[in-house]
């Protein structure tokens, strides 16, 4: 969905550039008609981009909802870690042994 929006944006830019060239070299009446056609096409492309934007925003909302679920799971994990851990005295024999091995 996100890449679609990107593609549409690039399309908008490309179309805008093409429309820039399209109106050159016509008689006045043809100019008016051509300009109107170009404007209509531009409006359609802009509309498509806006629609893609909304789809992108909807995807963002879904992502934030997912992030909330992830954060909630992390809270649970932290709480579980706190509940599962028991204090122990600093002069733990095992750690002393590791410390002495290292020294």
């Amino acid at each position: 969905m996100r890449m679609n929006k990107w593609q549409i944006i690039i399309f908008v830019i490309a179309i805008s550039a093409l429309l820039g060239f399209a109106t050159v070299g016509y008689a006045e009446d043809e100019d008016d008609e051509d300009e109107a056609v170009a404007e209509a096409e531009e409006a359609k492309v802009e509309l498509a981009a806006e629609k893609a934007g909304v789809a992108n925003d909807q995807a963002d909302v879904a992502e934030v909802k997912q992030a909330i679920a992830k954060e909630e799971a992390e809270i649970k994990a932290i709480k579980a870690e706190v509940a599962n851990e028991s204090p122990k005295v600093e002069t733990n024999n095992q750690e002393k042994a590791v410390a002495s091995k290292k020294s």
Binding site: V37, A43, K44, L47, N56, E63, I75, V82, P87, V89
Partner: protein
């Protein structure tokens, strides 16, 4: 080593608090964005009305069916654009709501992390009763989630860069349109031109607000990048602590699976630190892109203002 573990937990608690503060700032930005989208929708409706009036006026001047069709299509697209803008405003409101919910959850997480840090500090030593195999599996899952988040951030940066290109194109389009603003001749043309100018003034106001929000967004992105940098540093330190903790765990490990899991613990902690480092780098790039976006939007506000002034001048 135990003191170091307590320090890591304390650092994590500080980071979590900062994260909660950033989340609150994000809520402010999202609320402003939602309000702006509502304004944009209102202006889009007004613009559609003006385009419709213009279409009626232009239709009488058209000589070919192609010309007439194009004029009608432009008006229809403007009408539909207004509908889409309304939908966008609704989605923006929903986003602001979920971002607020996220901020609340992050705050709860900060509290939980603080409690963990206090406990670690008080005890100076904690003995995990948890299964090392389960713990390693959980850590692996966390690293995978973080990796996915980094990829998403990279995609976001790419989208933001494309958005900047779109905004730059719009700036050029507005500049071209400003040059093409014609002086209305007939009374009907004058009425439409005046209404058009009013819409352009409103658009300029919106563009200015948009630029201000983007600036604020860039500031948040900068703070976020700094936070990700701190997180990466903590992850590096934690990897070092894990290396030492593993020495103790090695003594405790009895089964083959436990021995393998203990061995993997260091590897995962190092991978976690590497991913955190990459996330911080991407966050920096994201902040730079956000800053560029704010600059482009400021330029857009400027040209939009000039266009509105030109339309007003010609309409009088």
């Amino acid at each position: 080593m135990l003191q170091k573990r307590a320090e890591i937990e304390k650092e994590k608690a500080t980071t979590a608090k900062l994260e909660a503060e950033i989340a609150k700032k994000e809520v402010v930005v999202e609320n402003k964005k939602a309000a702006l989208e509502e304004k944009k929708a209102t202006v889009a409706v007004e613009e559609a009305k003006v385009v419709a009036k213009e279409a009626v006026q232009k239709k009488s001047e058209t000589k070919t069916s192609t010309h007439e069709k194009a004029v009608t299509e432009k008006a229809e697209a403007a009408k539909e654009k207004a509908e889409v803008a309304k939908e966008k405003a609704v989605v923006a409101k929903e986003k602001a709501e979920v971002v607020e919910k996220k901020a609340e959850v992050i705050e709860k997480k900060a509290v939980a992390q603080s409690e963990k840090a206090v406990k670690a500090e008080q005890a100076k030593a904690v003995e995990s009763k948890g299964d090392v195999i389960v713990e390693v599996q959980k850590e692996k899952a966390k690293v995978a989630t973080e990796k996915a988040a980094v990829e998403k951030d990279k995609a976001d940066v790419a989208i933001d860069k494309a958005e900047i290109a779109k905004e730059v194109a719009e700036v050029k389009k507005i500049e071209t349109e400003t040059k093409k603003v014609a002086t209305p001749k007939t009374t009907t043309e004058k009425v439409v031109a005046k209404e058009k100018a009013k819409v352009e003034v409103k658009k300029a106001v919106i563009a200015t607000e948009d630029a201000a929000i983007s600036k604020q967004e860039a500031e948040v992105a900068k703070t976020k990048a700094a936070l990700e940098g701190k997180k990466a540093e903590t992850a590096k330190k934690e990897a070092e602590v894990v290396k030492k903790e593993v020495e103790v765990l090695k003594e405790k490990a009895k089964t083959t699976d436990e021995i393998i899991a203990v061995g993997e613990k260091v590897q995962i902690a190092e991978e976690k630190a590497a991913v955190a480092g990459e996330k911080a780098e991407v966050a920096k790039e994201k902040a730079a892109v956000a800053e560029k976006m704010a600059e482009v939007k400021e330029e857009k506000a400027e040209v939009q203002k000039e266009k509105a002034e030109e339309e007003e001048k010609k309409a009088e």
